[in-house]
């Protein structure tokens, strides 16, 4: 049965011996497949899926009800040349066996389903468990150095792995892009909207199409955090009932975070808190050079420029802010200091909410208005 160890979904679906077990189980096939599954518990889900597909596709069946069949059979039996005495109609329950078999298969599948279900429901999952359950052959990199380690993934994406971190990923990039992370890493993912990139870190799943972001997840820590530099990522947890759906959907569903936002997931409660990162970075895409030198420019334009540069949603009354001219050199300052300065200049204040900035001011318009 060793040849099955590397079987993929389609290999199972078209394997005669596998089909025999699924479609016409016998004691022998039951035993050998059970044994194989015991030795390869990580294949359980794959085998379940293949079995489901095998069972779902069947030759078009022309209905033949039991009465019609019994009648036909007794017709045959009655026509046998039976000169001698015969005792044919012993009550034999031919169907009890079929029922038993079906029941056994249903029990088996139900049992496997339950195992899978409980596994998904496990309280806490860490890197080791995730890697142990991965379907594909993984390559592991561990950063034993004191400096960040730059790793290039098969799909061209790069990972900057912090000291002490470890990461596992499939040796070959095939249909999916998935990595397992313990520790902290910054990811720069090449865009491929047909193959989302997944980072599995403890209970948290991060799904991206093509962005840069970092994930921090140590087995010993109570939180997992994800923050985004560019692009968008979706974050959900393994305990999410809709996890599979979120994983497979072509859109980014779940809690979506955008540049300079972060999400902190508490591992015990699986509560997610979205906030702005402590020092937002300019979203550099290499083409635009942001200019933060303002000379007598309405405050609303300054805020709009900051919003574009940092990708952070900011809310303000643009009509009021139109009347406030600002002259400032802000280029080398962090975002919050820029905001401090501008707000001071126009006598306004700002507030950071979960994922945006709200600027409150009374405007400067009274003097300007006739």
């Amino acid at each position: 049965m060793d040849q099955y160890n590397n079987f993929k979904l389609e290999d199972f679906i078209w394997d005669a011996y596998f089909r025999k077990w699924v479609l016409h189980p016998t004691r022998e096939t039951e035993e050998s497949w059970h044994l194989w599954l015991e030795n390869n518990p990580d294949k359980t889900e794959l085998v379940l899926r293949a079995a489901g597909i095998v069972k779902a596709v069947a030759p078009v069946s022309i209905p033949l009800d039991e009465t019609e069949k019994k009648l036909a059979i007794s017709g045959i039996v009655s026509k046998m040349d039976s000169s001698a005495e015969e005792i044919l109609h012993q009550p034999v329950s031919y169907f009890s066996k079929i029922w038993l078999r079906s029941a056994a298969v249903i029990m088996l599948l139900a049992g496997l389903g339950w195992i899978l279900w409980t596994r998904n429901q496990q309280r806490q999952v860490d890197y080791k468990q995730l890697v142990a359950h991965a379907e594909e052959q993984l390559v592991e990199k561990i950063n034993h150095t004191r400096n960040p380690l730059l790793i290039r993934l098969p799909d061209g994406s790069t990972v900057k792995l912090s000291p002490g971190g470890r990461i596992s990923f499939p040796a070959k990039s095939r249909l999916t892009r998935e990595v397992y992370l313990s520790g902290e890493a910054f990811f720069d993912i090449t865009r491929d909207s047909s193959r989302p990139f997944f980072v599995y870190a403890n209970e948290v799943v991060t799904k991206v199409l093509g962005t840069s972001f970092s994930v921090r997840s140590y087995s010993g820590e109570k939180q997992v955090s994800v923050s985004v530099r560019t692009g968008k990522v979706a974050v959900f947890t393994r305990r999410d009932a809709e996890m599979t759906h979120k994983q497979r959907s072509k859109e980014l569903t779940g809690v979506v975070i955008e540049p300079n936002q972060q999400i902190v997931v508490s591992r015990e409660s699986v509560k997610m808190i979205k906030s702005l990162v402590s020092s937002p970075q300019i979203i550099a895409d290499g083409t635009v050079n942001y200019n933060f030198e303002f000379d007598d420019v309405p405050a609303s334009e300054v805020f709009a420029a900051l919003r574009r540069a940092y990708g952070i949603d900011s809310r303000y009354d643009s009509e009021m802010m139109n009347d406030c001219p600002v002259t400032a050199r802000l280029t080398d300052l962090p975002l919050y200091e820029k905001l401090d300065l501008v707000c001071k200049a126009i006598n306004a204040t700002y507030e950071r909410t979960d994922a945006s900035i709200i600027i409150k001011g009374n405007g400067c318009g009274q003097a300007a208005n006739p």
């Binding site: 597909i53 596709v57 033949l64 000169s83 015969e86 031919y94 999916t176």
Partner: protein, 202 residues
């Protein structure tokens, strides 16, 4: 003619039923009919939509093996033998009816199409459901002879040589039929998977 007192182990497989039947065990004979009737009926429906004619053919096949039980080889697999006999018989009847009347025999209305049960108990995800539907579509697009070989090999667990006997072709031709079917399936599978499994995992 001696008929053994009816006594047939319930757990017998078809091979044993066949052997016991050849020795004159009528109970095993009946059990063998019971076990294989559905398969013969479903297979026969691929060649004729005339139920009564089909049931007659099946009856003749079974009566014939009972009559010939003294001379039949006890090592041949019963399923293959029965299917082959049925296929031959249906064609013979079809040819006769061509000269008589065609009203009772509509030629091969059914074929070897497969279907995909819409909400199958065991399918867990929408993706797998779609996969199953694509497989169904693919199989139904195959040439008829390939479909028949697949029907026998993958849905009814018959060996290559048995299929050769049933379809009355050389075993190598069976291999060729299955291989070309798989070539088609494999090519399309890649496309299907790449379309379906955009975000999924394998």
């Amino acid at each position: 003619m001696k008929i053994l007192k009816a006594n047939c182990q319930q757990e017998e497989d078809e091979m044993n039923l066949w052997r016991n039947m050849l020795e004159g065990n009528a109970a095993c004979y009946e059990q063998l009919i019971n076990k294989t009737y559905n398969l013969l009926f479903q297979y026969g429906c691929r060649f004729s939509s005339d139920r009564e004619m089909l049931k007659d053919c099946i009856q003749d096949v079974f009566l014939e093996i009972w009559e010939k039980r003294k001379v039949l080889n006890q090592h041949i697999p019963p399923r293959a033998y029965l299917l082959a006999s049925l296929r031959r018989r249906i064609h013979r009847v079809a040819q006769q009816s061509r000269f008589q009347t065609t009203e009772n025999f509509e030629k091969s209305i059914s074929d070897f199409n497969v279907e995909c049960s819409a909400e199958h108990l065991f399918i867990q995800s929408e993706q797998d459901q779609q996969l199953a539907e694509r497989i169904t579509f693919l199989l139904n697009e195959l040439p008829k002879r390939q479909q028949e070989a697949i029907f026998l090999r993958f849905f009814n667990d018959l060996e290559r040589d048995q299929i050769a006997d049933i379809m009355d072709i050389h075993p190598q031709s069976v291999s060729n039929l299955l291989q070309s079917a798989f070539r088609t399936i494999k090519i399309h599978w890649k496309i299907i998977v790449s379309l379906l499994y955009l975000p999924g995992f394998e």
